[in-house]
């Protein structure tokens, strides 16, 4: 059974994380893993996805830290005026600091979904201790292949025609002054506050080439819920000017929602992420007796 304990770190605000340590008897790997929030979902992840990944990594000997950015989940809010795009990479670097100091980590792999993937990318630009990026639904860019898949699917899907009919009927109702489905009430809902904007493709390509030169390993795992992506291979094609040097693995779980809602899709996502970490970072173990700080709270 893996061991979990609560940790607190962070200079600008107390950040809450859950550290999952390797199962007893399994050699501790030198590479640790940081799992980042997506939107306002707390460190458990959508449908406990992050917990499942952390526990599987513990079986493989990797320490992992799932933490909440300031103001999210169980972390306090910051008192400064930094934007999320500024504070989140700083806090991720503090999470790596914590793993290096307390666990003797020789570097970190960052895992994130959606906004978590964006933060992982931004952190890796400045923090050279990042050895791998496991990005779920990262920034993606349409290609010719995307449009071929897009129109091929529409031509063969009955629901597209039914949807077209529904839209026409709804517009007709609107013209007659009848109401349609209401927008969410801002007093009732809190949507992820991070307005996701995809940077220019060329800027992302430059970063990716830099990562590859630094020997950063890359996993891009796409759900079926990202509008900009619709077939395996699209990511690599969209960055055909980047020499990935065999350091990119691209996977697509077609049919999955953006947050991997179904347990079957969760199972595949966990397998893809942990399998990639095992393949690329499973070799190096820490020497027995590597430094560990004493537990600060009871363990699970």
């Amino acid at each position: 059974m893996s061991r979990q304990r609560v940790v607190k770190f962070g200079s600008a605000a107390p950040l809450t994380g859950v550290l999952t340590e390797p199962v007893a008897g399994v050699a501790r790997k030198s590479v640790s893993v940081v799992i980042l929030n997506s939107g306002i979902l707390h460190h458990v992840g959508a449908n406990r996805l992050h917990v499942q990944i952390a526990r599987k990594l513990a079986e493989l000997g990797h320490v992992s830290l799932r933490f909440d950015f300031s103001g999210v989940g169980d972390s306090e809010a910051r008192r400064d005026n930094l934007s999320f795009e500024q504070s989140a990479p700083l806090e991720t670097t503090e999470a790596i600091d914590y793993l290096v100091k307390s666990q003797g980590a020789g570097g970190a792999v960052l895992i994130g979904l959606c906004s978590g993937a964006d933060v992982a990318h931004l952190t890796a630009v400045t923090d050279h201790r990042v050895l791998g990026l496991g990005l779920m639904d990262p920034w993606a860019y349409r290609t010719t292949g995307y449009w071929l898949h897009y129109y091929a699917r529409r031509l063969t899907t009955l629901s597209v025609y039914l949807n077209w009919l529904r839209v026409r009927l709804a517009r007709a109702r609107d013209r007659r002054g009848q109401s349609t489905a209401a927008d969410p009430d801002p007093d009732m809902y809190e949507m992820p506050s991070y307005a996701r904007e995809f940077p220019p493709r060329d800027a992302v390509a430059r970063d990716l080439q830099t990562f590859v030169r630094r020997k950063v390993e890359l996993l891009v795992l796409f759900s079926g819920g990202l509008e900009e992506y619709n077939h395996r291979g699209q990511y690599q094609t969209s960055f055909s000017d980047v020499d990935f040097n065999q350091q990119l693995r691209e996977r697509h779980i077609a049919g999955s929602t953006h947050v991997f809602s179904a347990i079957d899709h969760q199972r595949i996502a966990v397998r893809e992420v942990t399998g990639w970490i095992s393949d690329r970072f499973g070799g190096a173990s820490l020497a027995i007796g590597a430094e560990n700080d004493p537990p600060t709270s009871r363990t699970a």
Binding site: S75, P184, D187, Y189, A300
Partner: protein, 251 residues
């Protein structure tokens, strides 16, 4: 906000204790009971907000994850209503021991409300707040369907969570109209929809001697709806009703 693990080492529960903020510290504590499956994710932000407001009013507040959910140990496939009852009893003890409160109120949302009401007969509870309660357990299973779990075995899934046959049976048998309650139990039924099932529950609780307050704040109570983007549902007005009730009713 103090997150920590508590309970047995082999079955540790994750909780977040919100001590009172400001100069006032009340003699009563509040334990919050999360809803189940995807509703847990949808409600997490609202529970954080409710906890912060209650701690601002001087309450020691504890929100915790049941075994097999959130950050607690265990697997969802091992869950049962008896296990949830036991988890809540452990959480109540923890708050009494850690914070030294004299009495405990429970606030439960959806299935958490049912667990809270069941606890009122077993544990010394000052009162309960039933927030959009699941009155009949089978309603919680709406939308459940067959799927495969992490090992590829066939299971029943609800909102991305595998549900054991034991828990399914427990939920089919759950009916708050037949759950025994202690006499003179203070009870707020706070709902977002003036539905007959809630009125019926109030009538029944009153008949059995509870001191019932009914508050309906019409709004969006779609806790069980599946949101593919991870949005949170935060009914501000209803949260305020709960805080105001506890301010007046709890010591």
């Amino acid at each position: 906000m103090n997150p920590f693990y508590f309970g047995d080492t082999g079955n540790a529960l994750y909780g977040v204790h919100h001590p009172p903020r400001g100069s006032t510290s009340r003699a009563s504590g509040v334990v919050l009971c999360y809803p189940f499956a995807q509703e847990y994710m949808r409600a997490h932000r609202a529970f954080r907000q409710l906890s912060l407001l209650l701690s601002g009013e001087g309450f020691h507040t504890l929100r915790f994850d049941y075994s097999g959910t959130g950050d607690s140990s265990g697997e969802p496939a091992d869950m049962s209503l008896a296990g949830l009852d036991e988890n809540l009893a452990t959480a109540i003890e923890e708050l009494i021991d850690a914070a030294g409160v004299e009495s405990v109120w429970l606030v439960g949302l959806r299935l958490g409300a049912a667990i809270a009401l069941r606890a009122a007969t077993r544990t010394q509870v000052a009162g309960v707040v039933l927030w959009d309660p699941v009155v009949v357990g089978s309603a919680q299973l709406d939308g459940a369907h067959a799927a495969r779990n992490g090992t590829g075995a066939r299971v029943v899934e609800l909102g991305g969570v595998p549900i054991s046959s034991g828990l399914q049976n427990d939920l089919h048998a759950l009916d708050l109209s037949r759950t025994p309650i202690p006499r003179h139990l203070s009870c707020l039924v706070a709902v977002s929809d003036d539905a007959p099932r809630y009125r019926g529950l109030c009538d029944r609780l009153t008949r059995d001697g509870a001191e019932v307050t009914y508050q309906c704040v019409p709004g969006d109570g779609r806790w069980s709806e599946f949101d593919n983007w991870g949005s949170a549902l935060i009914p501000q007005a209803l949260i305020k009703v709960i805080v105001d009730y506890l301010k007046l009713s709890a010591k």
